[in-house]
Amino acid sequence: MRAHLQQHRLLIALFILIALMGLAGCALPVQPVGQATGGASADASQNVEPIYIGVSGPLTGPNARYGEQWIKGFDLALEEINGAGGVHGRPLAYIFEDSQSDPKQSVVVAQKFVADPRIIVELGDFASPASMAASPIYQRGGLVQFGFTNSHPDFTKGGGEYTWSNSVTQAQAAPALAEYTVVDLGLDRLAVFYLNTDWGKSTFDLYARRAEELGATIVAAEAYLPEEKDFRSALTRARDANPNGLVLISYQADGALIAQQIKQAGLDVPIVGAGSLQSPDFLKLGGDAVEGVYIQGQFLPTDPRPHVKNVVDRYVAKYNETPDFFAIHAYDTMKLIAQAIELGGPTREGVLKGLYQLKDVPSVIYEKANFDPETRRVVNPQFVNLQVVNGEFVLWDGVKPEKK
C-alpha cells in the first residue's frame, strides 16, 4: 500500500514538473520585446520581417534594476528609428534574454543567439564575469558582442574583433576625475571609498596614481563589497585620517548610503563622486545628504545643447522621469547599432563592417563618437563637471569648496 502511494506521489511530482514546463513551453516562441514599440512604421511595413538584435542582461536577480533601465533606453531609441522607417526599410526589434548577469546563464544565452539566424548583433551583458564568459562564444559564432557597460580593460581584448564597447574605460575616466578633484576643486588630502569590483578597483588604482602625480595624498582608501550597507565603521576610520575631501567610486545605492552616513560619523568634508552616481536614484535615495556632492559625469540631463535636450525631453515625455546614465547609454547604443547596420547591411558580417566605418556617430554622451579600430573603444571621451544643487545635477559653477 505504501509503495503504491509513493508511486502515486512520484507521478504527481513528475506531472507537476512536466505540466509547468509544458505551460512555459507554450509561451516559448519568444515574443520580441521591442517589436511592440515599433509604432506606425510597423503597421506600414507589416509584411516586412524585422531586423533582430539580441540583448543579454539582468531582468531578474540582484542586478535586475539595470536591465529595467536598459529597456527604457532601447524602447525610446526604437520608437525613433522605426518611426523614421526603420533600417534598410525594415523595422528594428530586440529580443531581451534574462541572464541575471550570471555567467552560467549568459553563456547559454550566447549560444542561443549565435544559433538564431535572425539575430545579427548582440548587446550586453552587464557585469564582467557574465559578459566575458560569453565573449568567446560570440567571437566563434561570428556575432558582434557590443557591451555598453563593460569598462573592464580586458573586455574588448577577450573576444577579438567581434567584441566592441562604447563604455569609457577606467584608464580614461579615472584620471579625469582625479584632475577634477585635485586641480579644479583643490582638495589634496583624500579619503577614497571604492567598490571592490573590477571596475572599482581599477578606477581606484588609476585615480590614485593620477591624484598623487598632481600632488594630492590618499590618506585613507576603503574598499567595500557591493552588498555592503553599513559604512559607519569604515567612515569612522576615514575620519581619523583627517581628510579634506571624500571620493566615492561607487554605484548609486551604495554612494547614497555613504553620503548619508558621513555626517553621522562626524566627518564633514566635500564629497566628490564618479560618474556612476549620476542618477535620479542617487538624488532620491540620498535626499539632503547628497546636496553639494561634486560629480564628474558624462552627460547632464539639463544640458541645453540640442543633442542632449531633444533626447531627454522625449524620454521625460515617455516615462515621466529623468533618464539615468544606464538608460541613456542603452539609448545611445541602440542608435549607434542602427547606424552600423545602415552602413554595413543587415547581416552579421555587415554589422562588423559597419562598426569599422562608423564616424562621428551622434551621441547623447559623446556628442560625436568615434572608435579606435585597434581597441574597438571610443576615443577621446568628454566629461562634464557637475554638482548637486537643490536636489538636481547642475554644471559646476567653478567655485572651489572651502577647505576645512
Binding site: A13, M21, K112, E222, K229, D230, R232, T236, L257, D281
Partner: protein, 611 residues
C-alpha cells in the same frame, strides 16, 4: 589617546547597533531551529517583506512610527504562518532535509514577487526621526541608534517573559526540548510550530523595518545577506539557543565593526566568518551554551531511509548514457548543448554534494568554494607557470581536494545544521580570500584570457566538443563514486550518516572517513570548477558564489539524497528549468520557486528517492 578612545567608542556603538539588528534576525532563526529543527532560508525574505510593509506604512499611508511597527509585526506574522501552513506543514514526517528545500523555494517566490510588485529599484525610506546626535559621555549616538537599542531591549524582555511565564511559552520550550514527549503531554505541537513561525516572522519583519530606517533604503535583494548574517549569529550563540542568538548577533556586529576598523570594509565578511569557524572549533555548541545540548538528530541521516530509491535497471542507465552521447549528432543545437554542458559540469558538483551529504551525512553548502579553488588553481598554473591544461586540470582537482579538506577539517566535530552553516562560511571565506589576496589572484580584477579546455593539443571550442568532454568527466566521476559507495568504504560512510556514535563504537575513525568523503567531493567539485573556468575564459570572485552552492544542494535534494542518478537528474532539471521558463520573462523565478515547492510537496524524498 583621546582620539583612540573616541574611535573605539564610536566603533563599539556602530557594532552594537548593527549587532542588534543581526540579533533580531538570529532570534527568529534560533526559535525556528529550536522548535522545528529547520534551517529557514525564507527568513531573509520575511525580513525584506517587513522592510517593504514598513516603507508602505510610512511613505504611502503616513502612519505614525508606533503604528507601523504593529502593522509590520502583524503582516509578517501572517506571512510566517502562511509559509508554515502551506510550505512546511504538508512536509511534517518527511525527511528533515525536505523542508529546507521548501524554504528555498518560498524565498525565491517572495523575492521575485516583491520585485514584480514594487519594481527592482531601491526605494528611499525617509527616516521619520529627527536627525539629532546626542553626546553621552564622549560618545555620539543618534536617535535611530537609541530606537534600535530600545526596541531590541524591549523585545528581548517581552520574549523572555513570554517563554518563561506563559503557558504558550512553556509549550514552545517543551516542544523545542523534545517534540515527541511534548506531544505525549498533550501539547499541540502543530499549533506551537505555527506560533513559532509567527513570532519569528514578526521579529524578522521588525528587523527589516529598522534596517530600512537605519539605511534609509529598501530594496528587493536585501534578503539573502540578512539570512546569511543571521545564520552566522545563530551559530555563534549556539543553534536553537535564544539568549545565545541575541548575544551572538551583538557579538557578530562588534566583531565586524572592529574588524572593519582595523582591516577595512572589504574584510568585513572574511573576518566575521573566520571568527565563526574558530568559535565552532573551540566551542562547537556556540559561545553561550553552558552545557552541551541534547544531541540533535542529524539533519540528513537517521530519518532519511524512508522509501527506497526508484529502481534503475542497468539497461536504463546504459540507454540514458547512450542517448546523451548520440544527442549532439541527432540534435546539433548549440543552445541545447550548452545547457546540457552546464548541467554535466554542475552535475559533477551535485555528485560531490550527494557524496558528503547523502552518503556520509555531512550537509555541505560550500561546494562553490571548491569549484573556485579548482578554477583559480588551474588558471594560475596555466597562465603563470605555462602548464598544459590536461595537467593543470588534474593538479587543480588535487589542490582543491587538499585545500578543501584542510578548510573543512575544523568543522568535522560539528553535526547536522552546524556543518551546513560552517561549510557555507567556508565557501564565503574562499571567495573573500580570492578577492583580497591580490598578489596571487589579481583580486577584484579577476583573471582574463584563460585558454579553452584542450586535450593533447586539441582545443575544445565548439559546443559539442566541450559537451563530450564534460559528459565524459561526469560519467567518469559517477563511475568512480559508484564504485566507492558500493565498496566497504561506502558502507562506512553510510554508518557515519546513520549514527556517528554507533560508528565510533565499532571502531570507525570519524575524522579519517570524513576527510576521505570531503577529499573526494572537493576533488570532483574542483575538477568541475577548473573546466568551467576555462570554458568561461574569465573568472573572478563573483563567478562561483554561494548561490551556486545552494543550487547544488537543491539539485541533490530534488533528485534524492545519496542517489547518484538522482543528483544528475536534479542537475539537468534545475539547469533546464530556468531555460524552459524563459518565455515567462519576469515570472521565471516565481514559477521556478513554485516548482521546487510543489515537487518537494509531493515527493519529499526527491524524484528518484534516497539511497
Amino acid at each position: 589617546m583621546e582620539s583612540f578612545l573616541r574611535t573605539f567608542s564610536d566603533q563599539t556603538i556602530n557594532g552594537l547597533v548593527i549587532g542588534n539588528i543581526y540579533a533580531f534576525i538570529a532570534v527568529g532563526l534560533a526559535l525556528i531551529f529550536g522548535v522545528g529543527n529547520l534551517i529557514n532560508f525564507a527568513h531573509g525574505s520575511v525580513f525584506m517583506v517587513g522592510a517593504y510593509v514598513g516603507w508602505i506604512c510610512m511613505t504611502w499611508w503616513n502612519l505614525p512610527l508606533a503604528v507601523a511597527f504593529v502593522v509590520v509585526a502583524l503582516v509578517c506574522a501572517l506571512v510566517g504562518m502562511a509559509i508554515e501552513r502551506f510550505a512546511l506543514y504538508p512536509l511534517r514526517g518527511a525527511p528533515p532535509i525536505a523542508p529546507l528545500l521548501a524554504t528555498i523555494g518560498v524565498s525565491f517566490m517572495i523575492d521575485q514577487a516583491v520585485q514584480l510588485l514594487f519594481s527592482r529599484n531601491p526605494h528611499a525610506f525617509p527616516n521619520p526621526l529627527i536627525e539629532h546626535r546626542f553626546q553621552v559621555g564622549g560618545v555620539t549616538v543618534s536617535a535611530i541608534d537609541l530606537l534600535i537599542a530600545g526596541v531590541g531591549v524591549a523585545t528581548a524582555l517581552t520574549l523572555y517573559a513570554f517563554l518563561r511565564f506563559t503557558r504558550w511559552g512553556w509549550a514552545l520550550r517543551a516542544t523545542a526540548q523534545d517534540r515527541e514527549a511534548a506531544l505525549q503531554m498533550g501539547v499541540n505541537v502543530n499549533a506551537v510550530n505555527r506560533m513559532t513561525f509567527a513570532i519569528a516572522a514578526a521579529l524578522g519583519g521588525i528587523a527589516g523595518l529598522l534596517v530600512g530606517m537605519y539605511f534609509n533604503t529598501v530594496y528587493p535583494t536585501m534578503s539573502f545577506q540578512a539570512t546569511f548574517k543571521g545564520f552566522a549569529a545563530v551559530v555563534l550563540g549556539g543553534l536553537g539557543n535564544v539568549p545565545g542568538a541575541v548575544l551572538g548577533g551583538l557579538l557578530l556586529g562588534l566583531i565586524e565593526s572592529y574588524g572593519v576598523a582595523i582591516f577595512g570594509a572589504t574584510y568585513r565578511n572574511l573576518f566575521a566568518f573566520v571568527i565563526l569557524i574558530a568559535v565552532l572549533v573551540w566551542r562547537p555548541n556556540g559561545l553561550f551554551s553552558l552545557r552541551p545540548r541534547v544531541a540533535q538528530e542529524p539533519l540528513t541521516g537517521t530519518f532519511i531511509a524512508k522509501g527506497r530509491p526508484v529502481p534503475t535497471p542497468k539497461w536504463l542507465i546504459a540507454t540514458l548514457i547512450g542517448v546523451a552521447f548520440v544527442l549532439p549528432i541527432l540534435v546539433p543545437n548549440p543552445y541545447l548543448l550548452q545547457i546540457l554542458t552546464n548541467a554535466w559540469l554542475l552535475g559533477m558538483v551535485a555528485l560531490s554534494v550527494t557524496l558528503v551529504t547523502g552518503t556520509a551525512g555531512q550537509t555541505s553548502l560550500g561546494q562553490a568554494g571548491f569549484m573556485a579553488i579548482g578554477a583559480y588553481a588551474s588558471a594560475l598554473l596555466v597562465l603563470r607557470l605555462g602548464w598544459p591544461f590536461e595537467l593543470s586540470m588534474i593538479a587543480a582537482a588535487f589542490i582543491s581536494a587538499i585545500l578543501g579538506t584542510l578548510l573543512v577539517f575544523p568543522a568535522f566535530r560539528l553535526r547536522a545544521a552546524y556543518i551546513a552553516i560552517a561549510t557555507l562560511a567556508i565557501g564565503e571565506i574562499v571567495n573573500q580570500v580570492i578577492l583580497n589576496w591580490e598578489g596571487l589572484t589579481q583580486g577584484a580584477m579577476g583573471i582574463a584570457g584563460l585558454p579553452p579546455p584542450s586535450l593533447l593539443g586539441w582545443q575544445m571550442i565548439r559546443p559539442h566538443e566541450i559537451y563530450y568532454f564534460s559528459l565524459a568527466l561526469l560519467c567518469l566521476a559517477a563511475l568512480v563514486q559508484w564504485r566507492l559507495v558500493r565498496s566497504p568504504l561506502g558502507r562506512t560512510w553510510r554508518s557515519l550518516r546513520e549514527d556517528e556514535i554507533a560508528a565510533q563504537a565499532f571502531g570507525v575513525n570519524l575524522n579519517r572517513y570524513k576527510t576521505l568523503a570531503f577529499g573526494v567531493a572537493a576533488w570532483i567539485a574542483g575538477l568541475s570548477g577548473a573546466v568551467t573556468g576555462h570554458m568561461y575564459t574569465y573568472i573572478s570572485h563573483e563567478t562561483f558564489t554561494n548561490t551556486t552552492s545552494i543550487l547544488a544542494l537543491t539539485m541533490v535534494i530534488l533528485g534524492g539524497m545519496g542517489n547518484l542518478l538522482g543528483a544528475i537528474v536534479g542537475a539537468v532539471t534545475l539547469t533546464a528549468l530556468p531555460e524552459v521558463f524563459r518565455g515567462l520573462a519576469d515570472y521565471r523565478y516565481l514559477v521556478y520557486g513554485l516548482t521546487l515547492l510543489l515537487v518537494i510537496r509531493f515527493r519529499p524524498q526527491g524524484l528518484l528517492g534516497t539511497d
